[in-house]
């Protein structure tokens, strides 16, 4: 399928390249960075962003944006603790929370697809409603037990040296990657994002695509909240706050267009890894908080620019080597 969307795979590859370069720099600076323990940490933290940005990727591809992600993450953790505190088995509670997240996302979809509300406003308001609901629960009413064991296990267990979360993430990424690149559903998502009117006239049920995208985003954000809560061992209202921009930035750093229609989930994976590596490596350089921020911003810009122009260069070279002959006409030409 890289044949079908060559330009995207170039940008995905360059995002991975960016991540690798950063990792290399950090490792050269302090060798502990490449230790098994650190890599494992990086994978786990990336997975949180990766899950938070999973539905976000699809939403962005379809031409939308989901600002309710952080609140759905808080919902994931708090609702889980709440239900588990009421005695629900952990696994069941996790499944129900993810379903409930999907349902909330679906409401976002209804607002965007049917009422035609601007996605930013719809999802922002939905975030407010979720927040209100969580406040009404009594934010802290997590009972003595806090986060159920199932969530902690999901977040912290390992298979051999590899964290379970990272494995799950890999499997999900492969799945989503296939769906986006090779299924009719994926093609419809890209079509809606590229131009919804053309998509509609091409017989695509634009509303349904949007509903599904937002529902997926709700579910994945809730799941991200569950594993984050499991990992941290507690939940609180603002637990998802850092993931608002991170979830979008991962998508964009991964090469997607914020206007929709262009990008891949593998790009997002690369974006999540890049953001995590970057914020993990900068403290090594002993900067003040202020300096850290400046450097973080500049490195993001420089990195994205380098990977972009690197990607463009690769694309150009590839094009040059593949078709050296000029003027391939568009039309069949028949000799007289």
């Amino acid at each position: 399928m890289s044949r079908l969307r060559g330009h995207v795979s170039v940008s995905t590859a360059s995002a991975f390249g960016l991540c690798a370069v950063l990792f290399l720099i950090a490792t050269i600076h302090s060798s502990g960075f490449a230790s098994g323990g650190n890599v494992r940490q990086l994978l786990v933290f990336s997975a949180f962003i990766g899950f938070a940005a999973l539905g976000q990727t699809v939403v962005v591809l379809s031409g939308g944006l989901d600002l309710s992600v952080p609140w759905l993450m808080a919902f994931g953790g708090i609702q889980l603790s709440h239900w588990a505190g009421d005695g629900m088995p952990g696994g069941v509670a996790i499944a129900l929370v993810v379903l409930a997240g999907a349902a909330i996302g679906l409401v976002n979809g209804v607002g965007v697809a049917w009422l035609r509300l601007p996605p930013i406003i719809m999802t922002l308001a939905m975030g407010g409603l979720v927040q209100a609901y969580l406040l009404s629960l009594g934010v802290l009413n997590t009972g003595g037990s806090g986060v159920p064991h199932a969530a902690e296990a999901a977040a912290s267990d390992r298979i051999g040296p590899i964290p379970v979360v990272a494995l799950v993430w890999l499997v999900v990424a492969i799945g989503i990657g296939i769906v986006l690149a090779r299924s009719a559903a994926g093609r419809r998502v890209y079509a809606v994002g590229a131009n919804d009117e053309v998509a509609r006239l091409s017989g695509i049920d634009v509303g349904r695509v949007r509903l599904a995208a937002y529902a997926l985003s709700g579910a994945s954000a809730a799941f991200a909240g569950v594993i984050l809560a499991g990992y941290v061992g507690s939940t609180y209202l603002d637990i998802g706050a850092p993931y608002l921009f991170a979830s979008i930035a991962a998508v964009i750093v991964g090469g997607a267009s914020i206007m929709g229609g262009r990008g891949t989930y593998w790009g997002t994976v690369a974006g999540a890894l890049t953001l995590t590596v970057l914020s993990a490596m900068l403290p090594l350089f002993h900067l003040s908080d202020a300096g850290l921020k400046v450097v973080y911003g500049v490195v993001i810009l420089a990195g994205v620019w380098l990977s972009q122009s690197g990607g463009a260069l690769v694309a150009r070279l590839r094009q040059r080597s593949s078709s050296p002959t000029p003027a391939s006409p568009e039309v069949k030409s028949v000799e007289p």
Binding site: R116, L129, A249, V253, K293, I300
Partner: protein
Amino acid sequence: MSTASPPLERAPRGARLSLPRIPLGTAATALLLLVLFVVDLNVQPGLWDVDQLGMLVQTALPLVFVAAAQTLALLVRGIDLSVGGVFAIANTMTAVWVGADGGWLMLIAVLAVGLAAGAVNGLLISYLNFQPFIATLGTWTAYSGIALMILSTDGGMVPTVLSDMLYASWLGIPSSFWIVLIAFLLWRILRASRFGHQLLAVGDDEERARLNGTPVRRVRLLVYALAGACAAAGGIMLAGVTSTGSPTSGDGYILLSISAVVIGGTSLAGGRGGFGLSLMGVFSLTLISDIVTGANLDVWVSVAASAVLLLVMVTIRALADRRTARSAA
């Protein structure tokens, strides 16, 4: 000489249409704004006092200017997250560099710094082909760091000329109203300039704008530079209102400005909308939170109420827009 233009045939259709055509959606937003205002007057009778109203407008001033910045960016199919950082730089500069005795000239210099910061965004976006989201995400972070370097925590002294001006009134009307009015007039001037036309053209369809000979990249650069200056003006306003500098004060305005602009009806897809609409968005948000505070609801109820009011507002607008679209078809 105005009569020199020939009395052109006025088709009945033309005559009917020559009334200022206010789109239904805009009218709906304006009406809802009015309703919110009336409700707020009932919830908070104190607002009948024009000075009290002036105070309300005053607290909205920073958002007014950040929304202006965001409007510009959105109009050219972009987005500006760096308003948070530019705002903070201007805010802290006002409190630290300008200081209590600083004058207008120095405040203008702060605006120029904002202009330059915005121009960096413009360069990244139009000449290095960054997506606006990433470009301004990067500069936002960097600018926030710079603001923290200028002032590590809340403090500093704000020029008295600024705070005096903000708390003064003119012709019996609080200065905050005048500031909003002037900002709006400046926008009308910008809109009426040749640059204003180019700006809309670029936002509407870059390719067509180019075919028309618009220097697309230069226009974009200028737009982001202006957005930087507007965001800086917002930072200065907050410094004036609070008499202090705060290095983290800008971040809260990023999402807020985007929502205000979108509520007003400026499209994320560019080319459609304007600062007048954004003003309606800003004051809708201001009134909604004022009503909710004034109504003294339970914490979670008030959070929910804000969200619901927002949704109602935007839904009605969306329905009105759709109606217009249908009747136009």
